[in-house]
C-alpha cells in the first residue's frame, strides 16, 4: 500500500474512465473536456514515473494547446450534439472486437516479455540532462522537428484561411 501504488491505481482508473468518456460521449464538447482530463491524468502518471519534464510538457502542449485547438474546431464546425441516427451496431461491435483483440495481444506480450522484472530507477534524467541531450545526442531530431513544426504551422494557416 505504497503511495506510488495508490497514485498509480487511482490515476490509471481515472485515465481509463475518462478515455471511455472521450470515445463514447454523444456530445463532442463533452468529449473534448474529457480529453483534457484524460491528458491531465496521463501527465499525473508521468509524475508517478518520475518524468517531470515530460509531465509538464504534456500539460503545456497537450492540455494547453491541442485541446484548445480541438475546442476551437468544435465551435467552428457547429452541430455539437450528435444527430440521432440509427446506431450502427455492426460498426460498434466490429470496432469493439478489434480493440479487444489488439488489447489481448498487447497484454499477452506485456506479461510474457517482461522477463527481468525491471527495477525502477530512483530518478530519471533531470531537465538539465534532457536539455543537454537535446543539444548533443538528439540535436538532429530536434532541428528536424523544428522544421516540421514550421511546416505544420504554415500549412495549417494556409488551409484554414478563408478564401479571398
Amino acid at each position: 500500500m505504497t503511495a506510488e501504488g495508490i497514485l498509480f491505481w487511482g490515476l490509471a482508473v481515472a485515465t481509463v474512465a475518462l478515455a471511455l468518456a472521450v470515445v463514447l460521449s454523444r456530445n463532442i464538447f463533452h468529449s473534448a473536456l474529457a480529453l483534457a482530463a484524460t491528458l491531465g491524468s496521463v501527465a499525473g502518471l508521468y509524475l508517478v514515473l518520475r518524468a517531470e519534464f515530460v509531465a509538464v510538457v504534456q500539460l503545456l502542449i497537450y492540455v494547453g494547446a491541442v485541446v484548445t485547438l480541438v475546442i476551437f474546431a468544435v465551435m467552428l464546425t457547429g452541430r455539437v450534439q450528435e444527430t440521432l441516427r440509427q446506431p450502427q451496431f455492426n460498426r460498434h461491435v466490429g470496432a469493439g472486437g478489434l480493440a479487444a483483440l489488439i488489447f489481448v495481444a498487447l497484454t499477452i506480450q506485456a506479461i510474457r516479455a517482461t522477463g527481468p522484472a525491471g527495477v525502477p530507477g530512483a530518478r530519471l534524467a533531470s531537465v538539465e540532462e534532457i536539455g543537454r541531450g537535446f543539444m548533443t545526442e538528439w540535436v538532429l531530431p530536434f532541428e528536424v522537428v523544428s522544421v516540421l513544426l514550421l511546416a505544420a504551422l504554415v500549412g495549417a494557416v494556409v488551409i484554414a484561411r478563408k478564401d479571398g
Binding site: G5, W9, A12, T15, V16, A19, V23, I28, S31, L35, T38, L39, V42, L45, Y46, R50, A51, F53, V54, Q58, I61, Y62, A65, L69, V70, F72, A73, T77, G78, R79, R85, R91, A95, G96, L98, A99, I102, L106, T107, Q109, A110, I111, T114, A117, G118, V119, P120, G121, A122, R123, L124, I130, V145, L149, A151, A152, G155, A156, I159, A160
Partner: protein
C-alpha cells in the same frame, strides 16, 4: 509479479494497452471527424506511456524513452493542428464535419 498492487512495468504496459484499445475503438466508431482526431490523441498517449515506463524500469540511467515521448508530443501537436485545419476547411465547403456525410469522392 511480487504483488499486484505495486506498479511494475507490466502494469504500465497493460494500462497503455487498454488506452490503445479504447483509442482504436474511438477512431473506428466516432462519426465526427474531430472525435476521430481526439481518439488518435489517445493512441499517441498510450505509446508515450510505454516509452516513459520502459525508460524508468528498463533503462533508468538513459533518457531515450523520455526524448521519444517528447518528440511524439511535438509531432502529435503538429498533426492535430493540420488535421483540425483540414476539418475546418472541409466544413466550410461541405457544411458538415461527419465522416459519413463527406462522400463526394464516392462512386
Amino acid at each position: 509479479m511480487s504483488s499486484v498492487f505495486a506498479p511494475t512495468l507490466t502494469h504500465y504496459l497493460i494500462l497503455s494497452a487498454v488506452l490503445f484499445g479504447i483509442g482504436l475503438f474511438g477512431v473506428i466508431t466516432r462519426r465526427n471527424a474531430i472525435g476521430v482526431l481526439m481518439s488518435i490523441e489517445l493512441l499517441f498517449n498510450a505509446a508515450n506511456i510505454n516509452f516513459v515506463a520502459m525508460n524508468r524500469y528498463l533503462a533508468p540511467s538513459g533518457l531515450a524513452g523520455q526524448m521519444f515521448a517528447l518528440f511524439v508530443i511535438t509531432v502529435a501537436a503538429a498533426e492535430a493542428a493540420v488535421g483540425l485545419a483540414l476539418i475546418i476547411a472541409i466544413y466550410r465547403n461541405v457544411k458538415t464535419a461527419y465522416v459519413d456525410e463527406i462522400n463526394l469522392l464516392k462512386w
